[in-house]
Subunit: 241 residues, 2 copies
């Protein structure tokens, strides 16, 4: 019996009709649907496909044992996550080895800062894997600002706000256009880095891009508490040679 295929399916930034036609077809016809979520939550990826799953589709939620409760620097963090991904992989393999196809729901694009790669790295070369790219959360965010992020020869830099402050400052000072992800509790550090790079006044904050609760504001007007998945961006101005 031949093995099933593991599909990593990009769902886009949040609006169901911003998933690709290919993703839409895969989601509606899937017999096995897997997705990551925080324990006790519905899960954002699952929420995007609400009302789309076929009758009888089996769901396989994969619940993170930790997310932000333990510092990244704690060795237990790595150990717990490695054991978690090994468990998820073993569970999906029982389905795949039976010849069942499994789709993994991925917010945004599966290969762009996604959790899917932890399954991909363990199953690539072991079972057939197909990845369906998606509209990234950052595309959703800059579209929400109604201004182009880059044109001409602009340099775009994508940073995680989890990086050290001095590294953030250096990269922000050296780029034309900027996207920063993983904001949440890193916001005060990011604000200081933007300020010392002289770019705070150019920065926009987008929360819940392409979802009903979407908000867009200048970062200088924003409060202190923002979601982890908020996006901060600075538009390029069209560098010319």
């Amino acid at each position: 019996m031949s093995r099933g295929t593991l599909f990593g399916v990009g769902l886009g930034p949040g609006a169901p009709d911003l998933m690709s036609v290919r993703a839409d077809r895969l989601v509606r016809s899937a017999a096995h649907v897997a997705y990551f979520r925080k324990a006790g939550r519905h899960g954002q990826a699952r929420r995007i496909v609400e009302g789309m799953l076929a009758a009888g589709a089996q769901e396989h939620p994969m619940e993170y044992p930790v997310t932000t409760e333990i510092p990244l620097s704690d060795p237990r963090y790595n150990d717990m996550l490695a054991a978690f991904y090994a468990d998820c992989t073993a569970h999906l393999r029982t389905l795949l080895d039976r010849g069942e196809d499994v789709i993994v729901l991925c917010e945004g694009d599966p290969f762009f800062y996604g959790s899917f790669m932890h399954l991909h790295s363990r199953l690539h070369g072991v079972v057939p894997v197909e990845v369906v790219p998606g509209i990234t959360g950052m595309s959703g965010a800059w579209t929400a600002t109604a201004q182009p992020i880059t044109w001409g020869d602009d340099v775009l830099t994508v940073l995680m706000a989890t990086l050290p402050e001095e590294m953030l400052r250096e990269k922000i000072a050296a780029t034309d256009a900027l996207v920063v992800m993983k904001i949440g509790r890193n916001l005060p550090k990011l604000r200081r880095a933007l300020q010392s790079a002289g770019r705070l006044q150019d920065a926009w904050l987008v929360e819940h891009a392409q979802m009903p609760e979407q908000t867009v504001q200048r970062l200088s007007d924003a409060g202190e508490v923002v979601p982890y998945f908020a996006i901060v961006l600075i538009h390029g101005r069209g560098r010319r040679p």
Copy 2:
């Protein structure tokens, strides 16, 4: 009579089923379809929607007066393009002022290094404008390599190969993950910059991502002639704090 809406519709990287469900609906129902193309060519954006347009849809090709025949540094280049975009805007305005909606077909994402922004900057605030984000060409390219482009706290830098060699070298040396666009005749310069940054062996070349003629190879194995719309990339390795 109310004005029509200008839609900038992202088509994604090339495969028709990688456009969003929203873009698919707009393309199939549009009465007026505009797109840029090089004179004498069918046009890549138009090619993606082949067979999808409604019977009776009116097409409005907008043919670039120059692309790469005149150096960017020649003042005539700017003048000719400015007059061209003014003409395109005037033509679309006659339709929009009559109350007709117009969709502009955009490869990739309209706000990410696209020509749509030259219409957007002239019509934003004048007529209603709606932008539908799309899967970028770079997402199509890294998906084609079957490896994640970024994970963990990787820094991603997006560069145009039209930039000066020394600037390319500096940016390439300082980033984890890399995407380079606008390759074409800039390939020898880009190769030298990658070599002097010590990253040539990590670089991949993707041509015609997500199209039937897609190719993926190590840049070090590639020839001297590549299309302008080829993409060079280096995968991140998952930076940790």
